[in-house]
């Protein structure tokens, strides 16, 4: 009966989770206005960039790629864990996943949207970006399929499409619940989006089958996307970039930073929407264990790569490594080591700290500070120390790049805030399914799945 569950009945779940969707406070408008103004400032910076030229960036020969590509790699990395965690946990029937999946999947969709904007902004002539799209045109020329940038273009579009589908499908039953509770224009929106969902047994079994397929399909897509992003670098002959370890190293780093962002978002959602009874210490405990494991794996990959370069002393590669570790990038290097290894390792080791929500917030933010530093260290030093010492250089960002970067973070947050206004940020039906009970007799609503037969279904909040 409802008494074993910390939050009572299925109807109570609907009330708790739909409160932020159906009720709007002044704080929502304040946050939207604040984030919106940063995004508008970034839009101004992009306009200034387009009207003046890429020279308003701090780029120079030989550092032809910098902050825009760093942001691209960072945001694609963030996008990783959402779908991947959700898919892996669904495939393995991990019960504690239930309140996390939706928020993580939404994170993936919005980070990849932001990420996809960067290569466009980065182009010298973004108005002809469509030359990269394979379509029969008057020039009689296909894009160059040997170029990793084309692989990237295809991978990112596939992943974005897949992630949107993977976010949308499991949201349909919840949309049907909102449909039955909303009024005015919103009602029509949810009627359209819920695709006539009634909650029949047949619909539930179809949904469960299609989710089973999607969860399995999206995992290799997610892994391939960040491998391909790494190949943008590894396929070149730039010293240090040209490394066989780059693909798994990038995937590991991506999962790592993505998990950290999932934790950050879960902490914030928990506070802002009063979802303490859904996002419990158990969820943070498990996410913390993942963070611990990823921090060790990340360091292992970094170390294996750096040691090989250090020991080999191949002059052009060694120049880059020395510039990274001992040169002007040393403070950033130590930030990376402390934030990515030392702090997560020594905190996530302890159960008490993993179950402390405030600690989790701080550590997860620091991990992403470390991962951002890592992205800078991968891209800038390698380009600064090329093979001809006469063409060595360095890079300092300008206000234009910094404004666009700030706008990206604000834009991601804004998309996420708007998402929570229109869609339930916790998957209601999955939580109800985890409660292991059918809606109480007499309550007929489309968003409660039939009794779950999987063993351990009761254990979601143990």
């Amino acid at each position: 009966m409802a008494s074993d569950s910390p939050f009572g009945s299925a109807a109570r779940v609907n009330d708790d989770i739909l409160r932020p969707v159906l009720q709007t406070t002044w704080r929502f408008y304040a946050v939207v206005a604040l984030l919106g103004s940063v995004v508008l400032w970034g839009a101004f910076a992009v306009w200034y960039l387009l009207s003046t030229g890429i020279g308003v960036f701090g780029l120079n020969r030989p550092v032809y790629w910098a902050l825009m590509i760093i942001n691209f790699v960072f945001f694609v990395g963030l996008s990783h864990s959402g779908t991947l965690i959700s898919a892996i946990l669904r495939v393995t029937h991990a019960e504690w996943r239930r309140p996390i999946t939706r928020g993580a999947e939404a994170m993936t969709v919005f980070t990849i949207m932001v990420a996809a904007a960067f290569p466009l902004i980065h182009l010298g002539r973004p108005w002809v970006f469509y030359y990269l799209i394979p379509y029969p045109d008057l020039r009689g020329l296909w894009p160059n399929f040997r170029s990793p940038l084309i692989w990237d273009f295809i991978a990112i579009s596939t992943y974005l499409t897949g992630s949107i589908i993977y976010l949308y499908l499991p949201m349909i039953p919840d949309l049907a619940v909102i449909r039955d509770r909303s009024h005015g224009w919103r009602r029509y929106l949810y009627i359209a989006l819920s695709l006539g969902w009634t909650g029949s047994e047949r619909e539930w079994s179809r949904l469960s089958r299609v989710l089973g397929i999607m969860a399995v399909v999206i995992i290799p897509v997610a892994v391939s996307v960040h491998s391909i992003v790494s190949w943008d670098f590894a396929m070149t002959i730039v010293p240090v970039w040209h490394s066989t370890i780059f693909a798994p190293y990038f995937v590991v780093g991506a999962i790592y930073s993505g998990i950290a962002l999932v934790i950050t978002i879960m902490v914030l959602i928990r506070w802002v929407f009063n979802l303490q009874s859904y996002l419990q210490p158990r969820q943070f405990d498990n996410l913390g264990k993942l963070l611990f494991v990823m921090s060790v794996i990340w360091f292992y990959f970094w170390f294996a790569d750096a040691l090989t370069t250090w020991y080999g002393r191949e002059p052009s590669e060694f120049a880059v490594l020395r510039y990274t570790i001992l040169g002007p990038f040393a403070p950033l290097f130590w930030t990376m080591i402390v934030c990515n290894l030392v702090i997560p390792f020594w905190t996530m080791m302890f159960k008490q700290l993993r179950r402390n929500v405030l600690v989790m917030l701080v550590v997860s933010l620091l991990v992403n500070v470390g991962m951002y530093s890592e992205r800078i260290l991968i891209i800038v030093p390698a380009l600064s120390r090329g093979r001809l010492p006469s063409a060595w250089g360095s890079y300092q960002p300008t206000w234009v790049e910094i404004s666009i970067t700030a706008a990206a973070f604000a834009g991601f947050s804004l998309l996420y805030v708007l998402f929570t206004k229109f869609f339930p940020v916790v998957s209601m039906w999955e939580v109800k399914e985890g409660m292991g009970e059918r809606a109480e007799a007499g309550v007929k609503e489309p968003g409660t799945p039939p009794r779950k037969t999987v063993e351990g279904a009761e254990g979601a909040y143990g």
């Binding site: 030229g53 020969r61 790629w65 030359y131 990269l132 990793p148 940038l149 084309i150 001809l388 006469s390």
Partner: protein, 228 residues
């Protein structure tokens, strides 16, 4: 079929940079301006690299003109997503400005750092616009680099074709070669075994930049000799 190549005799190069000026005038290379040049934003399709050797007072400067090496296995070519840079049948690494979208990937992958980007719209202070070369496109926010003065190669080939013969050795001279007072630069057809380029390229002093990378450059350097 021709195979264009260049020989740079470092023994003859004095580092005077006349080639740099000639290249800029011939190819409409934009003027960066004082401020941007100070940031290192000046474009030089042809540049003179200077390396100091020894400690004061026994110091010696070594000069090395560096420009697009027109690699046979060019690292810049496969990475371009839109075929803006490709290999011509005559061994030239050709840049098609109209196709370039400005990913700058090619420049990252060039081990010789000889590709230059138009950071801003091109401009020339007065009276320089009067001397722009009508045979060469003015570039706008795309990647550009040394072309071996492709406009001169084309003209030379057309004249030879009209006369019903092959291009004579030395008939085509890129601007840098034409200007080089000590004669350090030699341009010609590698497929013609009698050409000066073909003969000098077999010199025991020859080397190519980063030959270990397997890029097969079409630019051959002749090592400085030791004078005891």
């Amino acid at each position: 079929m021709y195979k264009w190549a260049m020989v740079v005799d470092l023994d003859r190069c004095t580092g005077c940079a006349a080639c740099v000026v000639a290249c800029r005038a011939e190819n409409n290379v934009p003027i960066a301006g004082e401020e941007e040049a100070g940031k290192g934003r000046a474009s030089f399709w042809m540049r003179i690299e200077r390396y100091w050797e020894g400690e004061y007072p026994n110091v010696r400067a070594r000069y090395m003109p560096v420009f697009c090496q027109q690699c046979a296995n060019a690292p810049c070519e496969p990475v371009c997503p839109v075929y803006a840079t490709y290999h011509s049948a005559e061994g030239l690494n050709v840049q098609v400005y109209n196709r370039c979208v400005g990913t700058r990937y090619c420049a990252n992958n060039c081990p010789y750092a000889v590709r230059y980007f138009n950071w801003f719209d091109p401009r020339w202070p007065d009276p320089l616009p009067e001397q722009l070369n009508p045979d060469v496109t003015v570039r706008f926010r795309v990647m550009e680099k040394c072309t071996f003065c492709i406009q001169r190669i084309r003209r030379g080939k057309e004249l030879a074709k009209m006369a019903g013969r092959r291009v004579i050795d030395g008939e085509i001279q890129p601007a840098c070669v034409q200007t080089c007072a000590p004669g350090a630069l030699v341009f010609g057809d590698l497929n013609d075994p009698a050409s000066r380029v073909a003969r000098l390229a077999m010199s025991p002093r020859r080397f190519r930049l980063h030959e270990d990378l397997g890029t097969e450059p079409a630019v051959f350097y002749l090592k400085e000799q030791s004078y005891g």
